[in-house]
């Protein structure tokens, strides 16, 4: 695309994001500590932007919501209403691993002959500004071991990288959608340039050409991943070690719901007197009702089968179908598992000796 990058000082970040608000529904990490989440921004929330960490709930929820109404019916008339999907959304501050997660979702929802129309529309309407990880946000980050590059996000529309001095971001514009953002920021720079008397909050936003920080403190967690991991794990389907791997599992949905690539959903209905809503919501293969069939039979009766299925989907089945692993090494499941299970142990076990 356009080789020209621009530099945004950290002081001017709010100004830069303010310039996007008229054109997009902007979401960015905001809040402190456990409240850090991708939040809808408006003028009043600009001060809450927090790019120091990575939210527990990944940005996948903006493309694949926790819950969405598919249609509503009026029980009297039978008339159906299909909810509108927002135009022009922009997600600011997506980490490279989470972008790879979105690329996994693209494969699941858009490839192999079936296009999920709600996902497709959201994806089409969404511009992504990625943020290179100069420092790893979690102690449990291991993206590099999963083939990721914490400093690159090829598929992002814009890539921000903190400069060496640490007081600014360099923005690289990588797609036509990214150039739309550049247009907004260019005009901002021009406006500001011709108005030197502006207040501190809206002082000139951009200078061109600072060098990005090209080295960072990358993952401390290094995982040895066998090249033929999918084949090895599938060959180990009946290995007794799955029982050992799963014995501490509590069977909750934390790992799936904090995962940037888990995309299972359920469809259900809420029938009210005035309105019937058909909705879909996140679901999780660690739950007993996920695999329960009509009549009550459950082909994955215990946590051993459920955990094996989840890890095999991440590390083998998805690879077999789409040619990419479904674990991007974001480290959230390890950081948040209430029983301290660790997917890297499964990767390193690799089905045991062949």
């Amino acid at each position: 695309m356009d080789n020209k990058t621009i530099t945004i000082t950290k002081d001017d970040l709010a100004t830069a994001i303010r310039a996007l608000l008229p054109a997009y529904n902007v979401y960015a990490p905001a809040g402190e500590g456990e409240r850090l989440a991708f939040a809808a921004l408006d003028e009043s929330r600009l001060g809450a932007i927090n790019l120091t960490g990575s939210p527990v709930i990944p940005p996948k929820e903006l493309l694949f919501p926790r819950s969405e109404s598919l249609y509503t019916l009026d029980p009297e008339t039978g008339a159906a209403t299909v909810p509108e999907i927002a135009e022009s959304t922009l997600i600011f501050g997506v980490r490279p691993c989470d972008l790879r997660g979105i690329e996994n979702l693209d494969a699941a929802f858009l490839e192999k002959g079936y296009v999920d129309s709600n996902y497709a529309k959201r994806r089409e309407n969404t511009t992504i500004i990625a943020l290179a990880c100069v420092t790893s946000p979690y102690e449990t980050c291991f993206c590099e071991s999963m083939g990721g590059d914490p400093l690159a996000a090829k598929g992002a529309d814009v890539l921000l990288t903190e400069t060496k001095a640490g007081d600014a971001f360099t923005a690289a514009f990588q797609t036509p959608k990214g150039l739309q953002v550049k247009l907004l920021w260019d005009s901002l720079a021009m406006d500001c340039g011709s108005a030197p008397a502006m207040t501190e909050g809206s002082k000139p936003a951009m200078t061109e050409g600072s060098k990005p920080a090209m080295t960072g403190q990358h993952n401390t967690l290094r995982v040895t991943k066998p090249d033929d991991l999918p084949q090895r794990l599938m060959a180990a389907f009946d290995d007794p070690h799955w029982a050992v791997l799963s014995e501490a599992c509590l069977g909750c949905g934390t790992c799936s719901y904090v995962c940037p690539t888990c995309y299972c959903f359920d469809i259900d209905r809420e029938s009210g007197a005035k309105e019937i809503t058909e909705y879909r919501c996140w679901d999780c293969c660690m739950f007993s009702d996920y695999s329960r069939m009509a009549g009550g039979h459950n082909p994955r009766p215990t946590k051993k089968e459920r955990l094996r299925n989840r890890y095999l989907h991440k590390l083998a089945y998805f690879d077999e179908r789409y040619g990419m692993t479904l674990c991007v090494g974001c480290g959230r499941c390890i950081a948040k598992c209430p029983a301290s299970l660790d997917i890297t142990e499964v990767i390193e076990w690799g089905g045991g000796a062949l």
Binding site: G33, V56, E139, V244, C252, G253, S271, I334, P338, L341
Partner: protein, 284 residues
């Protein structure tokens, strides 16, 4: 005695029990690749007993794992601090496990990294077969840093409108992962109501109404049996103040009925689950 010495005692006793075939496994904690995380370990041989660890990062209460193995052929040895022991009592009362299936290795506890330990009133185990080291000199009900109902008190101090805003915020952040339920030693329904299909009264949807239906129903179902271990909060990936709910129920029961604490022995009734034809109210 420091943690290294305590770990050694645990390993030695566990190895002896496994060597003698007295127990099928010893349920304790093991190390992970992260220095600040431990994980439940099921030691099945003297060699595995040598991998058990004990330190301030043993934040998880182990009792819930007992329901994964309700009918063991040989007894299970479980390392039990105050929280595990109270859970065991309550789980026995709830007919989830049997005392004769357990060999309880009591561990007088000094608290862990987990916040809930700061309000603990039962550092020493209340039921055990043997203690691995001397009880705390302060006794079982050591003075806690936080008051018993510290979360509920904080919410009680809010106005009605503030309370609504508080809980609306909590349930907007709930992701319905059910970690609280699965970690809870008294959540023991064979099939949880939220796993039932199309009941009509609760949905799988992540909405304010459905999230609150889950949270409030669970709180009422476990509230009068809550042993105050705080596993629900420790497990919650979103850091939600789940203990506030059961603390509130316990606080109200105490106001109505006087001293009320669960899990102190295995014969205790639970206030909302017990009935008496001589009930002081006339609806009986």
């Amino acid at each position: 005695m420091n943690y290294t010495e305590k770990t050694k005692l645990i390993q030695t006793r566990a190895a002896a029990l496994l060597e003698a075939g007295e127990v099928s496994y010893v349920l304790g904690w093991g190390a992970t690749r992260f220095a600040d995380k431990t994980r439940a370990r099921f030691a099945r041989s003297p060699e595995e007993a040598a991998t058990l660890v004990y330190n301030e990062h043993c934040t998880q209460s182990l009792a819930k794992y007992l329901v994964d193995d309700r009918w063991p052929e040989t007894r299970i040895a479980i390392l039990a601090r105050g929280c595990e022991s109270r859970a065991i009592n309550r789980m026995i009362r709830d007919n989830q496990i049997r005392r004769e299936n357990l060999l309880i290795l009591g561990l007088p506890c000094e608290g862990t990294d987990a916040e809930r330990c700061r309000s603990c009133r039962a550092h020493d185990p209340v039921v055990y077969d043997e203690l691995l080291w001397e009880p705390n000199s302060t006794g079982a009900a050591a003075a806690a840093e936080l008051s018993r109902y510290y979360r509920a008190d904080a919410v009680d101090a809010l106005s009605a409108a503030e309370k609504k805003a508080y809980w609306d915020d909590v349930y907007a952040r709930c992701i319905r992962c059910y970690a609280c339920r699965n970690a809870c030693p008294v959540c023991s329904c064979r099939e949880c109501f939220v796993d039932m299909h199309r009941t009509g009264f609760q949905g799988k949807r992540h909405s304010a109404t459905d999230n609150q239906t889950f949270g409030v129903t669970r709180a009422f179902h476990v509230g009068d049996r809550c042993i105050e271990c705080g596993e629900c909060e420790r497990a919650c990936p979103m850091g939600l103040p789940i203990l506030a709910q059961t603390q509130k129920i316990l606080k109200e029961i105490e106001a109505l009925a006087g001293d009320y604490e669960q899990g102190l022995d295995a014969a205790q009734d639970n206030y909302l689950g017990a009935f008496d034809l001589d009930d002081k109210d006339d609806f009986m």
